[in-house]
Symmetry: C2
Subunit: 359 residues, 2 copies
Amino acid sequence: MDQTFTYQQLLDFSTNIFKAIGCSAAHAAVAATSLLSADLRGVDSHGLARLTGYVRLWETKRVNANPDIRVIHETPSTAVVDGDSGLGLVVAPAAMQVAIDKANQVGSGWVSVQNSNHFGIAGKHAMMALKHDMIGIAMTNASALVAPTFSKDKLLGTNPIAVAIPAGNEPAFVADFATTTAANGKLEILQRKNQPTPDGWVQTKDGLPSNNAHELKEGGALLPLGGDREHGSHKGYMLGSIVDIFSGVLSGANFGPWVPPFPAYLPMPENMPGKGIGHFFGAMRIDAFRKGEDFKSDMDKWIQSFKSAKPVDGFERVIIPGEPEIESEKYHLDNGIRLPAVVIEDLQQLGRRFSVNIF
Amino acid sequence: MDQTFTYQQLLDFSTNIFKAIGCSAAHAAVAATSLLSADLRGVDSHGLARLTGYVRLWETKRVNANPDIRVIHETPSTAVVDGDSGLGLVVAPAAMQVAIDKANQVGSGWVSVQNSNHFGIAGKHAMMALKHDMIGIAMTNASALVAPTFSKDKLLGTNPIAVAIPAGNEPAFVADFATTTAANGKLEILQRKNQPTPDGWVQTKDGLPSNNAHELKEGGALLPLGGDREHGSHKGYMLGSIVDIFSGVLSGANFGPWVPPFPAYLPMPENMPGKGIGHFFGAMRIDAFRKGEDFKSDMDKWIQSFKSAKPVDGFERVIIPGEPEIESEKYHLDNGIRLPAVVIEDLQQLGRRFSVNIF
């Protein structure tokens, strides 16, 4: 049966699980906060539902619970961070902090990360910049589920991009999106409901258009944002490629078809050219460009002009990127987070196994 | 009648026109090279066909032929450049050079530009980074032709993004794309042929789906990459917004609905909050992250793995971003550039007016 838990209950539980697999108290807290930010922001597919997945990666020794996360190459404004096979949930905030520190010193900081694992939601890491009055950028590559335009083969992950931009009186602008037409999580919802997908989401293993939400299980692929060439899929393919190159090639991580998969039961790609999965982070101090107050008042003006645009009939108004997530966060902090029965069972099993009290 | 000219003929002609409106010899050469790069690379809509448009902006005093392009704010890795109402074709390379110089000093350079005009094709400016073994990034905002998801009103330009990434033996990866489903140039082709657009390119003035290539003349709008919400248009809207904010809000240029239009006969927006149009440039030194040779051999591997993917039946293979433009450039340098009769007449008029020998 579905059940609702408070944020604090779930945070304590996941922190304890991360401690149980050997994370330090500090790392466990960071990992749990990163993970739970997905449930708070309404991206259920990337939150607690994945806790078991992370533990399985640790079991197969693909995740190191005690990583020595360190800068292995740097200039005043750039760095490469080696995640030492740590949880991406921990490596990402550490690397983003390096970007922020560099931005404090020289105006901006840019960090490419090798040897990491899945980092949860990109937006959470980008948003670290906001309280420093900086623009934050986060992206990551991921295992290949996406076929580039004209390809039967899957060569790219859903490779998300997040950009967080501070405003004044208005809430911050926070964009966070997969570079595919639809994120994998959206597909999973249709799978559960046994509903067809809209055009342009997936293709068959032969590269033909499909509306089958289960197509990936049959060798098919997700499609880059745009869907097909006529609708701009080459642009989605370019975006996904840029994320892959900035995250994987620039850092010395794996890239393209060699990015290791999240599910621990899947085999690793052969002849991997790099280390683990890759991320890319950026931070730019607002006052490295303009007076903070001028920027913020113009951002407020930007946001207000979009909010007050004439809406298409049947829609309330233009949505500012990040708005729905803020509402979701408020709602879940006030009313708790509802978990589906299947996730609860999963967590109960984990709890029993590691002797962690469940809620 | 259509006619073919050599690159050198057209370069000399445009250089002389830019000199005739008062540009210095150096600026005229830069402007002509920027402009012609569009014709060479096969983006006819942004090349010589626009020369008259730039001259008209100068006539209406919106373009200053002798701009004092200068850095008005900076940190070691960032700057804001004031284009002094210069031709974007000249301002952009100057600002990109500032980014490259900063990357040479501190690993990366990021430059936001105010008080500029249309800069031609974004890819040309991003590619300046390549010969320095840097990744180059270029974007610009533009006058509002695009309706965000759920909006009847037009609030964004086609706001292109270009990213140029060096490789080893393979040609560089050069992505250059409007953040709309289809660039305005693609629409113009259908207009001339009197053909309908695919779904997701345009909407009517009431925000309804349309396949009318002439829809913009009737108050309609271009659509963000994705087309509609179900096909990911909120992602195209976010991308266009990021370009607008980095280019316009970060620099103190105009943004959103206030970006001045390219056609000189159109009225300027009221209550403009900033100066001119805005651009954003970035340069990252490869060796600020990894040894150049390691990066390049991995980029070659990346490119080869995409080139050798199994193609969908009926297509030759996956295209690497920038490949078609390289072929186009070679073709046009060898065989000349074919101009339509209407563009030739336009240029002949310009030539007579400024006593510049036409070809």
